[in-house]
Symmetry: C2
Subunit: 382 residues, 2 copies
């Protein structure tokens, strides 16, 4: 297990907060008043300011992508497998910026923050967001940090959607766009799972229409259920089979106390659900899944992904995983086909991996090697 | 649309109830005291009593498999596509028996029935059941109806599991076993979805530990959520895409009232959930999903499906559907491989169909033709 002292770890890191006084115009037509972004950086910005990498997070992610917050911190950031000295996003060469998106619940302005107009938490009245709103807020963070052009913008899942949106919104500010386990839009099945997750949350009586903070309540059962549903879609059937099979907690197949989880996979899911519900905000979860639902890369380009990608001027790396059924390789191939038709440079890899959608977070050798090799090329040109 | 007067309909049917006074020993070690089974029959039993077909229902099914309960009944029984004159299970030749299983909520003894020991509804104290308990209760119904040997036992999904269990428990009482869209046991992913469904139900405050009937309450939100989760797994990704795509109810992609279902698939799921929760019992749903979880055809045969099927003496027809990801064709091929190794006669068809697990209920031409052809052979030998 890696530690803060490991030579491949970025070590102990401290989040910083940037405050933006100028309101942010949002896709919904409203403005977000003065807001804060919490972020971490790893590595050093070079003199030419040409080695900066932006990491965009997925549904339940945040700014803490690598390293540790203290010497006794047990778990590193969520993408520590890929960020650090000697890792694909090599902090010996790159200056990495990882930000918690607005609408989040880990320190950036979001539903748990105080609405300056009411003096109360925003709660469900926080403006609905789209991926492009995150991109625009990240562009302001780039200005704040003095970064004109990112060497690369990297993201998995919803993070990959932000990376693609960056390539279209700010073509002159991105040299490489790295899109991992993502899609140009959600399928009806994806929408359906998100709907079930949201219904689980809003059905929890403690949700109180989203004003639970004012009642000092947490809709933890609804949020746990939402996470359980999500979690199943992150793992492949095979990954679950390998991890749990039909193993029983008690070791026997006699039906026992019906309230107890009897199969290992049941207690695992309950644990995942309860962990998540104690660390994540329900309104943020709803907001994030809605942003996912509404993401549709090519919609404003006449629903033509080729026309959309003609606005990009960066190079692309697209990676998918064979058993990912949330955003399957087919979805990535659609991105690649559109990029080729739009005459954009693109490298594509479909990684054989048993781990489903979660594979993008895991140290799968071929994935890590290929990602690393691509990032070396990014480094050479930066 | 078909009606009760249609020459391919069994017409108007009336359920009957059989009462059994002798307690039924259950797999859990407890006895079910005197109990009732509600059933329907279609067609006529021949003089040799050799043309009887047993239809076993799936998770949310019941005894009303074909025909109409009245002249203004809008919808026929759940398997009307396959049961009737000129249909695969041709009631001009066969005598069809369709029974609501014990533990059910459509008229057979189940959690909503009165527990004779307490004078109150059984509720969550109804004994846990396994598929074999249903098989044993169905065998008593066969005795009651004077049927020594079924020409065929037919079932889809959980119904197919009962059909296979019949072939092992009563080899001399089944000539043909027809197993559609089933599996020898659930995968970890199947278990996980069932767990989420049950957690949704028990998390509903109206569930009251299962004693909701005593409180005149119905955990309808939990049950609706459970059904939504289940429903997603019954449809393929493609089926959902074809049915809804990303179509919006309002026709525009502006984010509107956040409480409203915005995509068609969302309102469809909500409708399915609410319909189900007004017609199904939560304790039955929990009991049925547990029976599914615990079903493991070969467990008592040293986990060797070949050893298990050596106990069978009937012929088998196994059918799977290409896009069924609940019980995928791979699961059916495992059944077929074991049957071949056990030297049992088996016919296997993998039907190309876009409709996922639900395909077994639909009039897919190749499926219906093949099923019909097989049933003609069953008829010739009966």
């Amino acid at each position: 297990m890696s530690t803060a002292n490991d030579s491949h770890s970025v070590g102990i890191v401290t989040p910083r907060i940037a405050r933006f006084e100028e309101p942010l115009p949002l896709a919904c037509g409203r403005d977000l008043p003065a807001y804060e972004l919490i972020y971490e950086t790893y590595g050093e910005l070079n003199a030419q300011r040409s080695n900066a990498i932006l990491v965009c997070h997925a549904l339940s992610g945040h700014h803490h992508a690598a390293g540790y917050h203290s010497a006794d911190d047990k778990r590193p950031g969520w993408w520590d497998e890929c960020i650090g000295p000697g890792k694909p996003i090599d902090t010996s060469h790159f200056y990495v910026v990882s930000v918690n998106n607005i609408g989040g619940c880990h320190g950036s302005t979001g539903p748990m923050s105080i609405n300056p107009e009411t003096g109360k938490p925003w709660g469900p009245d926080f403006p609905p967001l789209r991926a492009r709103d995150w991109v625009h807020s990240q562009a302001r963070l780039a200005d704040y940090l003095g970064i004109d052009c990112w060497a690369a913008i990297v993201g998995g899942s919803l993070g990959g959607m932000q990376a693609m949106r960056w390539a279209l919104e700010y073509p002159q500010r991105v040299r490489h766009c790295i899109v991992i386990a993502a899609a140009m839009k959600l399928s009806a099945q994806n929408l359906a799972f998100n709907e079930v997750a949201r219904q689980a949350i809003v059905s929890d009586p403690k949700f109180a229409g989203g004003y639970y903070q004012e009642h000092n309540a947490v809709p933890s059962q609804g949020l746990a259920l939402a996470r359980m549903v999500g979690h199943i879609t992150y793992l492949s059937d095979n990954a679950m089979a390998n991890k749990f099979g039909r193993d029983l907690r008690s070791g026997t197949l006699e039906q026992g106390d019906q309230e107890q989880a009897e199969f290992q996979v049941q207690s695992y899911l309950r644990y995942q659900g309860s962990q998540f519900s104690s660390s994540f905000d329900a309104n943020t979860y709803i907001l994030m899944t809605r942003a996912l639902d509404y993401f549709d890369l090519a919609r404003e380009y006449g629903n033509d992904p080729v026309a959309a990608f003609k606005h990009a001027s960066c190079s692309f790396l697209v990676i998918s995983f064979s058993t990912d059924w949330r955003f399957s390789p087919e979805r990535s191939r659609e991105i690649v086909d559109a990029l080729i038709a739009a005459d954009r440079p693109v490298t594509y890899a479909e990684i054989e991996a048993d781990e489903g959608h979660d594979a993008f977070l895991l140290p799968i050798p071929r994935y890590v090697d290929l990602f690393h090799a691509y990032m070396r090329r990014v480094g050479e040109s930066s």
